[in-house]
């Protein structure tokens, strides 16, 4: 193991690490918003909205994320990082929508009926009664989606997105120390994903106990 590969290129690794974190966070926030919207569309009492939501989820989650990332990169004149983050958002939103929908469905029907009959509109009932209860059930799967997001953000490397994977390839081109470089890149990813997956595991256990 040649640690000079790491120390000599620390700036590049850290730069990539930062981009990976930023891209993952932006994609997480955006796909959470988009995913919630789609989930609500899927269960809204309006056939046309149901249909749009269902088509989105079924289509997007059955095609590879790389196809989406390439498409956003090539069809629009975005930078690699923007295109990658948009692609990740579009893809992840479909999974988050499914997780949120499952959470909403798990709230007993009586809750909605009670809220509606006490004078709340459908939107209000959703916002103040159903969603706050659903979110508890949704948190562990959301955590898993975030881990997937961090891992999938490596696709930015393919469209010159400046992330960890991309910087790793630049270091490779300079040092030709492929094994060392990839091991260091792997360690940077693990620093992010291992604590996240332990956190999700802990939440899952706590949730299982509280039920």
């Amino acid at each position: 193991m040649d640690f000079s590969v790491l120390t000599n290129n620390m700036d590049a690794f850290l730069e990539g690490f930062k981009t990976t974190i930023i891209a993952s966070l932006i994609a997480l926030v955006c796909s959470f918003i988009l995913g919630t919207l789609i989930a609500v569309m899927r269960i809204a009492p309006l056939k046309a909205l149901n249909w749009i939501g269902t088509v989105y989820v079924e289509f997007i989650r059955n095609i590879p994320v790389l196809v989406i990332v390439f498409f956003t990169y090539l069809a629009f004149t975005f930078s690699g990082m923007t295109a990658g983050t948009i692609g990740l958002t579009v893809y992840t939103a479909s999974f988050i929508a499914e997780a949120i929908r499952a959470g909403i469905m798990s709230v007993p029907k009586g809750q909605m009926e009670a809220a509606r009959s006490s004078g709340l509109s459908y939107g209000q009932a959703m916002r103040f009664v159903i969603l706050p209860q659903a979110i508890k059930i949704v948190i562990p799967p959301l955590g898993n989606q975030f881990i997937n997001l961090v891992k999938n953000s490596s696709l930015l490397g393919i469209v010159a997105g400046g992330d960890l994977m991309y910087q790793g390839d630049l270091v490779n081109a300079k040092t030709f120390a492929y094994v060392d470089t990839y091991v260091f890149v792997a360690l940077f990813y693990l620093v992010l994903t291992i604590p996240l997956s332990f956190g999700v595991g802990y939440l899952e256990k706590r949730l299982a106990r509280s039920n």
């Binding site: 069809a75 393919i158 994977m165 792997a186």
Partner: protein
């Protein structure tokens, strides 16, 4: 009707045949990886469930590392870094090896948690009625666990099929790769190519997910 022109130019029998050839490579690589990773995942998952000292811990560390890494990194490592260590593979083998290593880790977790979800009383009853540990596992625990594992295993297979597309980075001549060759001819070909490529992936994956859902319904 100008915007239709690239579609007409792209959707020729030759192009479609070329894309289908790529899709066959995708399906072949995915199918081989599915079989291999299912076998390895089942062995690793069962060994971890059996809590064999030392071995279980080593496997746990390996599985945790592998499933927390981006698959793309594993593909790059297999194709570009392993030759440095004297292990050289051609493109298809490298793609299958990388996919198998990653998906085995994912599947072993599904299988382990499936086994863990079977009540302890089942094992105890099996053992106290005179079956050996392996017999109990084989005839009592596994058949029950397998039924619960089918839906997550199928969705992992769908993931694998989608993940096969990542092998374009090492130039595996799969569906996405052949699509790239077609849209490289002309900028206006990008949208038509991506639409047909996405549809091909979608049809197979959607069929798989419908099958998984039917199995799920049948169980409950």
């Amino acid at each position: 009707m100008d915007f239709l022109k690239p579609f007409i130019e792209v959707y020729t029998p030759d192009h479609l045949k070329f894309l289908l050839q790529g899709f066959l490579v995708t399906l072949k690589v995915a199918a081989i990886s599915i079989v291999l990773s299912f076998i390895i995942g089942a062995i690793v998952g069962t060994l971890r469930y059996a809590k064999i000292p030392v071995l279980s811990q080593i496997l746990a560390v390996l599985v945790e590392i592998l499933r927390n890494l981006p698959l793309l990194l594993i593909i790059f490592f297999t194709y570009f870094a392993l030759p440095e260590l004297g292990i050289e593979m051609e493109i298809t083998t490298a793609a299958i090896a990388a996919l198998t290593v990653f998906e085995s880790a994912m599947l072993s977790e599904i299988i382990r948690s499936g086994l863990n979800s079977i009540e302890k009383g089942q094992t105890e009853a099996g053992r106290s009625s005179g079956l050996s540990y392996v017999q109990t596992l084989r005839y009592i625990v596994l058949p029950q666990a397998l039924r619960r594992m089918v839906p997550p295993i199928v969705s992992q297979f769908i993931s694998l099929l989608k993940d096969t597309s990542l092998a374009v980075v090492i130039a595996l001549p799969d569906l996405l790769h052949n699509g790239q060759i077609i849209y490289a001819q002309k900028e206006s070909y990008v949208a038509p190519v991506f639409i047909i490529v996405a549809l091909m992936y979608f049809i197979v994956n959607y069929a798989l997910s419908l099958a998984a859902r039917r199995l799920e319904l049948k169980q409950s």
